[in-house]
């Protein structure tokens, strides 16, 4: 049997384009004892993959040229020679951008489509939800009544962060790039206020108006000029959670901005970066809490589902134009 495969052809210089990816076909080998044959069902595309396309030291190895991209994928077990995985069941894990692939099952988790939609395991019950949960627990350390600002607020992580912050009793202000997204974060996700950075002349003033008591916690998904404006409004002992910097990921030169040091010093404030895998040994705790909120309907889940294996690269590229609302997922036919 044959499988389509998507490989990294070129390391993108700035914004990725379709030319950076190559479609190929490969023969799927016969199953050996202990192996399972997987059919990809949902493929997650995420901004952080852009970082792995660079050839530089980071928290994970860079992707290799002419090899398949990997990301978080939910797949169906369509054949099994491994007693731990039944034919017809579903698994979740870091898998390759292939229609079909063989795995030993190592580092895969079984997921239950009866408990939640399968795509939710790529989002609010997967790394997205865990990212929001641990970033807030370990760095944000929210206190009731505090003001929390979230950039990239309509994205998968951002909308989950906002909802958790509301559950914790905070005043939550979201920043996003269209009026539609601003409406969504307020009406669907319960944010108290929203700022459209594309139509706001003065982001600093808009933030000051939305945060009359200053900013205690800033969840930063974007970096760049939006984040620079936040520094001017942080309160004493503010916490800035550096989750992403999508505004500068495509920069070809070292990005520059307002120096945070004087702001951090005069406010005894902190900025801390993290990656969700830092908390891998506590994932069960996170999933339990998220599933509890999800089951009670207190954690809504927005996703943009693109159809078709061949559209995976375009879906990834579209992330950088903000074309997604919530988690961007590709449903493989």
């Amino acid at each position: 049997m044959k499988s389509n495969v998507i490989k990294l052809k070129n390391r993108p210089e700035a914004k990725p384009t379709n030319d950076d990816f190559e479609f190929a076909e490969e023969q799927v080998a016969d199953l050996k004892e202990g192996e399972i044959l997987l059919k990809s069902i949902y493929v997650s595309v995420d901004p952080y993959l852009r970082g792995r396309m660079r050839d530089q030291k980071s928290y994970v190895e860079p992707f290799k040229l002419d090899e398949p991209i990997t990301s978080s994928i939910v797949a169906e077990v369509i054949e099994s020679k491994n007693d731990s995985f039944k034919k017809g069941s579903h698994v979740h894990g870091m898998l390759a951008w292939k229609q079909y692939q063989i795995s030993t099952g190592k580092d895969l988790q079984t997921v239950d489509g009866a408990k939640a939609p399968l795509s939710a395991y790529l989002g609010v019950l997967g790394l997205t939800g865990l990212t929001a949960y641990f970033g807030l627990e370990e760095i944000g350390k929210l206190k009731e009544g505090e003001t929390v600002v979230v950039s990239g607020a309509a994205g998968a992580v951002g909308s989950t962060v906002g909802q958790i912050a509301k559950l914790k009793g905070c005043n939550v202000v979201g920043i996003a790039g269209t009026d539609e997204k601003i409406d969504m974060i307020k009406s669907d996700f319960g944010f108290d206020a929203g700022i459209n950075y594309e139509t706001t002349d003065n982001i600093k003033k808009a933030l000051a108006d939305a945060c009359p008591n200053g900013i205690d916690v800033y969840w930063d998904n974007v970096g760049g000029e939006i984040s620079d404006a936040v520094f001017f409004l942080i309160n004493q002992k503010a916490r800035i959670v550096n989750c992403g910097a999508i505004a500068v990921y495509n920069d070809t030169e070292i990005p520059k901005g307002v120096s945070p040091q004087p702001f951090l010093i005069k406010n005894s404030a902190l900025m801390q970066g993290f990656i969700v895998s830092n908390y891998q040994d506590r994932f069960q705790e996170g999933i339990s809490q998220l599933a509890q909120w999800f089951g009670k309907g207190k954690l809504k889940h927005e996703e943009t589902i693109v159809e078709g294996f061949d559209n995976i690269p375009q879906a990834f590229i579209d992330l950088f134009d903000g074309k997604n609302k919530g988690k961007m997922v590709v449903k493989v036919d």
Copy 2:
């Protein structure tokens, strides 16, 4: 009796000049019950005072125009109507730039010139030492064998930080602006290596050479370009202690630099600002530990003593040209 007084005449626009200060003479009132008359002996001048000369929100109130500057001062009690303070004893606290002044004794601590030189209470046994101690304890969290980089290494705080880091078993690299200072931090304070940023063409390369295992903790006294270079070399879970930003304090525009966000994210690293008074309720712990090291000769103390009350403004200005080695103190005649 009359006292000379130094007031803030203008808010400095960039680097402070003598014109920003005004000398005046005032009448010292008669002592009332519960008061003490103080004669200033040693006056501390510190970079952070520059921040208080701006008219903007910070962790402490800005100085008022046409009123005396205050800083950390050791004074002699020359007359007392307060049983807690004996005539002839010495006190330490935030006092005004006056030759003579009256106090109720509130927030003053008695210091003992027999246990340590009086000027040490403005330095290694005062706020300087406490700054180094709590910044390292609470943010740096040094582990044996880690690499610690200190900017402003020949300054009062920097040299204390380096010595504590050596006591904790770290590899310590200092950055300073003259060869003489580099010699001093190595031979007097036991730093393992030093970088003269004034004579080094490529600070990033010099740091990489001095830190073959990367940088675990960066004690940042300066901000600006030196700190920007550090980001490229930080290790996973690095801690950046933002203690000062003397390189940008005189900037008239908002200082800009390399955006730290991408570096913090990919290394799960943190930057945290602080001010020593955050830990005021633990000062006794800090002073005890510092005094123990000092008494054993493990914590050396470098100071630059300028003579003469009239030279206080110039001593302060000279801080920004790096004319001090260690703690800058003015001895009042």
